[in-house]
């Protein structure tokens, strides 16, 4: 291969930046003709620099090659060497080249002097960084010193991993605040809670290769055609190439995913838990389960039931609200008894799906010769019993022994590019620390303190005179979840909010309340700081706007739905005065932590001295070097052997966290931190992404594709993990070892059907379901700016059943007023059959700021995960 000019340019630049001994992604982009034969990589590149990157939109994580000439992106094409997607893109990814160059880019810090101008187009004036940082940091510090329960950060599944890691450290260790929660609360929280409940590890065991291997696909509340376009292409490839491959789609409305499914089961909203339990019951009654697998691998539990719903803000503090997460061990027989009421007929009655169809699906699941892959997204997660539905899908797979096997399993798909990578892996949740650790576990806090060089007990709550911990003084008590943060804002109980990489003013439910359009006006009194690239509705409510770099204007890493971590290189500089978010976090931290001490030493230096030179007021090195240093520290979390103090706590060397039996034999509590092992930074720089855990075998770092499944590491199986943590270093029945689960046994928890918070009635006769469509991503703050892309879907519509539409004497595009218990909004109606709504069901997208459908969306959330239910608001529709 010839050493082309762009490789020379790239390697020279890297060398000059002092990035010693690290690879360069650009050099990985092979000779000029490689894209031609790859089936879609696209054209060749001319002079310029090519960077290996990843798309910034959905959770699929399509590889993207970015070419720049003279500091401007001239081309983006699919990366044929990205194993997740092989160069395929969707229409959003095709337009990434234009993303950075749209009109209206924020390039100067902005300040709002008069908070009464919030929500209007005006009121922000330009400011210097110094003024904006001093103002925002002053407000944050004052709030922190006064009452730190009144401050919060709303983070994101679109925030690169190292940025999320440092932000979390600033909040949790710097200010000892757990009031940081990500927008992933709105999309993956139910999945996360179920992962932790069932497996004690937050991750899918499966990978994208399973879509090439499954015999049957079952999509539950997932419109993959629109929401995971390239992954859906993979599902279709399997269906078209594999003999007899079938696809069942279970949904509340006909989608484009339904269109190509072999069988579509249209169910009444909220009835999925009944269907899943009927399937499990059928398996149990007909003794189709795998008894040997159950004996070896599973434990059974029941949990708190009759949860009710958060009809008001007192729910979390109520008796039931505090008990929602409790579980009790039970026997398989008890599980069977609890399932017994869920006959096919009972489920059919609740769901409107025929008993015969449910039986057919149960047989398909139970067929011993069939590899079944269940896939789900927001229909399951954004659900008032979303955690339960996640459980119930795992229950089916687990009792059949059909989980964590190639082509066979239950795969929770993420919605954001790094929901898995950042929001979950580095712990930007109110209850979490990095790498699956949680704040309310003392061993987890000790481990974190060891990695962060904090004195032992630093993260604990202070003790009162009776030696009782005072909640909120340290971080032993979880902070406010997303909805609680915004409820408190609306009530005037918060003084400071900061957000980055999200657009809460459009994406939250019940915006009527949260945007101060009702009687609660707290949003006007809360000091709000927003990091943004383009103006959004959130910046219209901001007191300070920090202009920041977007996508490849800085180096970062994303983690996609299949645990693939991919470092994307900086390709271009941010415009004007826009800065890297990390720079903003550290500039704020240096101000807020001024004069603070940790163990007698300067607090800022203890936490961030390794990347920021306080004297110089700048990073200690290049962006590459800073990312490398952050990664090196983060790496200790999943490679505890790198630091003895951390390793000792991981292994419970001092016998502090384990249990002693009656004979006095001590069983240590081991954290098994290598379970989610990451590789050194340079390994990522020399790859197109790796799926964790990444294991070093004979000097080579190898991905794990199939978690807990035995087989050769080089073939993608979890050989090294099982050797390290499996029972006697071996797998169990079925070649599986759930080595991260307590006792190596995942939990099958019986979870009943309970009704939605509201049912359609005379006043609000329609179910209103919200979601995404392919062309526009989330709140449209990126996709709607690109003219050629926005032109593909410029308007949001209320998709209606043709019968309902005609009965109201509507014409295409007529405006209708949609009203719920929570608010009202005017939208345009259509009966176009892109979305096929059954009678009484309507669907809307949330990308258009001028048609703010979340004004009517209920603030009902899953009582356990606190994830809002965007799928079951009851509404009235009236022609305008």
């Amino acid at each position: 291969m010839e050493f082309s000019r762009r490789q020379f340019v790239k390697t020279s630049a890297a060398a000059m930046a002092g990035a010693a001994a690290v690879g360069t992604l650009g050099a990985l982009v092979g000779c000029d003709d490689e894209n031609g034969g790859g089936g879609g990589g696209g054209g060749t590149t001319k002079d310029g620099v090519t960077s290996v990157t990843v798309c910034r939109y959905c959770g699929v994580g399509c590889g993207v090659l970015v070419t720049t000439v003279d500091g401007v992106i001239t081309e983006t094409v699919g990366d044929p060497d990205n194993e997740s997607t092989l160069g395929a893109l969707c229409v959003k990814g095709m337009h990434l080249a234009s993303l950075l160059y749209c009109d209206g880019r924020l390039t100067t810090p902005l300040i709002r002097d008069d908070s009464s101008t919030k929500g209007t187009d005006g009121g922000l004036r330009e400011a210097t960084w110094e003024e904006a940082l001093d103002l925002a940091a002053g407000k944050l510090r004052d709030t922190w010193k006064n009452d730190k329960s009144r401050l919060a950060f709303w983070a994101s599944g679109q925030m690169p991993i190292c940025e999320g890691y440092i932000l979390s450290k600033f909040w949790k260790a710097g200010m000892l605040s757990n009031n940081i929660d990500p927008n992933a609360r709105l999309c993956m929280a139910s999945a996360v809670v179920a992962f932790m409940n069932v497996f004690q590890t937050d991750e899918p065991a499966n990978c994208y290769n399973d879509l090439d291997l499954a015999d049957v696909f079952v999509t539950w509340g997932a419109n993959m055609y629109e929401a995971h376009p390239v992954l859906y292409s993979r599902l279709e490839a399997r269906k078209n190439h594999g003999a007899g491959v079938k696809h069942y789609d279970i949904t509340t409305l006909g989608t484009q995913t339904s269109k190509s499914a072999d069988k579509v089961l249209i169910m009444t909203p909220g009835s999925d838990n009944a269907i899943a339990n009927a399937i499990a019951n059928y398996i149990v009654v007909n003794e189709l389960y795998d008894q040997a697998y159950i004996d070896d691998h599973l434990v059974f539990k029941t949990g708190t039931e009759n949860l009710g719903n958060n009809y008001d803000d007192t729910y979390d503090g109520s008796d039931i609200g505090r008990a929602v997460g409790a579980v009790t061990p039970c026997t398989f027989d008890v599980y069977k008894e609890r399932l017994a009421p869920y006959t096919l007929e009972y489920a059919a009655e609740l769901s409107s799906v025929s008993a015969a169809d449910i039986e057919e699906l149960a047989k398909v699941y139970a067929d011993k010769n069939t590899k079944v892959l269940s896939l789900w997204t927001m229909g399951v997660n954004q659900h008032n019993r979303g955690v339960w539905m996640n459980h119930n899908i795992y229950n089916i797979h687990l009792i059949l022994g059909k989980y964590a096997l190639p082509g066979c399993g239950a795969f929770s798909l993420t919605g954001q590019p790094t929901a898995c990578g950042t929001a979950r892996e580095v712990g930007t949740f109110a209850h979490r620390l990095p790498a699956d650790l949680v704040v309310n576990n003392p061993q987890h806090r000790r481990f974190t303190e060891a990695v962060w060089d904090l004195p032992k007990g630093y993260l604990d709550d202070e003790l009162d005179d009776d030696d009782e911990p005072i909640p909120g003084t340290g971080i032993a008590t979880p902070g406010k979840h997303t909805i609680r943060i915004f409820q408190d804002i609306s009530k005037g109980n918060m003084d400071f909010l900061w957000s980055a990489c999200n657009n809460w003013a459009v994406s939250l439910p019940n915006l009527t309340r949260y945007l101060g359009k009702g009687d609660q006006k707290g949003i006007y009194d809360t000091f709000i700081v927003v990091n943004e690239c383009y103006p959004t509705l959130s910046t219209k409510y901001a007191d300070v706007v920090f202009p920041v770099a977007m996508w490849v204007e800085r180096e970062g890493a994303f983690g996609n739905a299949e645990r693939r971590t991919l470092v994307f290189e900086q390709a271009v500089e941010p415009p004007g005065e826009a800065m890297w978010d990390l720079w903003v976090y550290l500039q704020m931290a240096v101000r807020v932590l001024e004069g603070e001490k940790i163990d007698g030493k300067d607090a800022f230096d203890v936490l961030f001295g390794f990347i920021w030179d306080k004297e110089a007021g700048d990073f200690v090195g290049s962006q590459r070097e800073v990312n490398q240093r952050i990664w090196d520290e983060y790496l200790i979390f999943t490679n505890p052997g790198l630091k003895k103090a951390a390793s000792d706590i991981d292994l419970d060397v001092d016998e502090l966290f384990g249990t002693k039996n009656d004979e006095g034999v001590y069983t240590p509590s081991k954290l098994k931190m290598y379970s989610k092992q990451m590789a050194p930074y340079e390994v990522y720089l020399n790859s197109h992404g790796l799926t964790w855990p990444v294991r070093e075998v004979n000097g080579e770092w190898l991905s794990t594709k199939w978690r807990f499944c035995d087989g050769k590491q080089e073939d993608g199986f979890d050989e090294e993990g099982i050797k390290m943590y499996g029972k006697d270093g071996k797998a169990g029945v079925g070649g599986i070892s759930y080595y991260k689960s307590a006792g190596l046994k995942p939990s099958v928890v019986f979870r009943p059907w309970e009704p939605p918070a509201f049912m359609p009635d005379e006043q609000y006769p329609f179910w209103f379901v919200t979601g995404r469509l392919l062309e526009q991503w989330h709140t449209g703050t990126n996709t709607a700016l690109i003219p050629a892309l926005n032109n593909t879907l410029p308007d949001s519509y209320l998709y209606m059943n043709p019968g309902d539409f005609d009965a109201m004497d509507l014409k295409e595009g007529d405006e209708v007023v949609v009203t719920s218990h929570y608010g009202t909004v005017t939208v345009k109606a259509t009966k176009q059959q892109r979305v096929e709504c059954p009678p009484g069901v309507c669907f809307g997208t949330f990308f258009e700021e001028s048609r703010l459908i979340n004004l009517v969306v209920q603030e009902i959330y899953d009582p356990i995960s606190k994830e809002p239910d965007y799928k079951k608001t009851t509404v009235s529709i009236v022609k305008k």
């Binding site: 081309e75 395929a88 893109l89 229409v91 279709e236 490839a237 078209n240 190509s260 295409e812």
Partner: protein, 196 residues
């Protein structure tokens, strides 16, 4: 091809580009796309009195007036779908106001026969690159009838498919919304309407 497309995308932001495309679209091989209900060519030219009523009646501003550059058609109404396609109103206000029958009544939108969409597979992002585009399919008012999707192998890639939009000439009414929304702009769109 790819490079050209992306360079043009960056440039597309300029409205001038769209204007240039509109002119090309209007010329469309010399034959203009006439409003719904238009009678046959010769009949239309003789009946249409260039009164402009249909132009004013269109609630979307989709109907334009041909210029002298269009020769004999000068003064008659036409639609440039790239600029603004026909929205297929159920009550056809354009036909309603036509005093001469140049636009004659149509029962329902699916009976309209303005023309037929034709996809240029060489430049279509779905066909030529295997990207998940197929915007033309999803925006079609007669989705799954006039345009449907067929799965085809993606060359050199066993694990993804081409989602190929297929036009059903019997069902396509030629409203042109697919042309208006097409992401390809070289400046030719990957889908065009061949007027009836």
């Amino acid at each position: 091809m790819m490079e050209k497309e992306n360079l043009s995308l960056a440039a597309l932001v300029g409205a001038g580009f769209i204007a240039a495309q509109s002119i090309l679209g209007a010329l469309g091989g010399g034959k203009l796309l006439k409003p719904p209900g238009a009678v046959s060519d010769e009949d239309f030219i003789s009946r249409c009195i260039s009164c402009g009523k249909c132009v004013l009646a269109c609630p979307y501003g989709s109907i334009l007036t041909a210029t002298v550059a269009d020769g004999r058609a000068a003064g008659t109404p036409y639609i440039d779908p790239r600029r603004k396609a026909c929205r297929l109103c159920v009550d056809f206000p354009c036909i309603e106001v036509c005093p001469t029958g140049a636009l004659s009544s149509v029962d329902k939108p699916s009976d309209v026969r303005m023309g037929t969409a034709v996809i240029d597979e060489r430049i279509c992002a779905a066909y030529s690159k295997g990207h998940r585009c197929e915007v033309c399919y999803r925006v079609c008012p007669l989705i799954n009838e006039a345009i449907s999707v067929e799965f085809r192998d993606r060359p050199g890639d066993d694990i993804h498919m081409i989602f190929a939009p297929i036009v059903n000439e019997e069902k396509c009414v030629g409203c042109g919304i697919c042309v208006e929304r097409c992401v390809v702009s070289l400046p030719e769109t990957a889908v065009t309407i061949v007027p009836r």
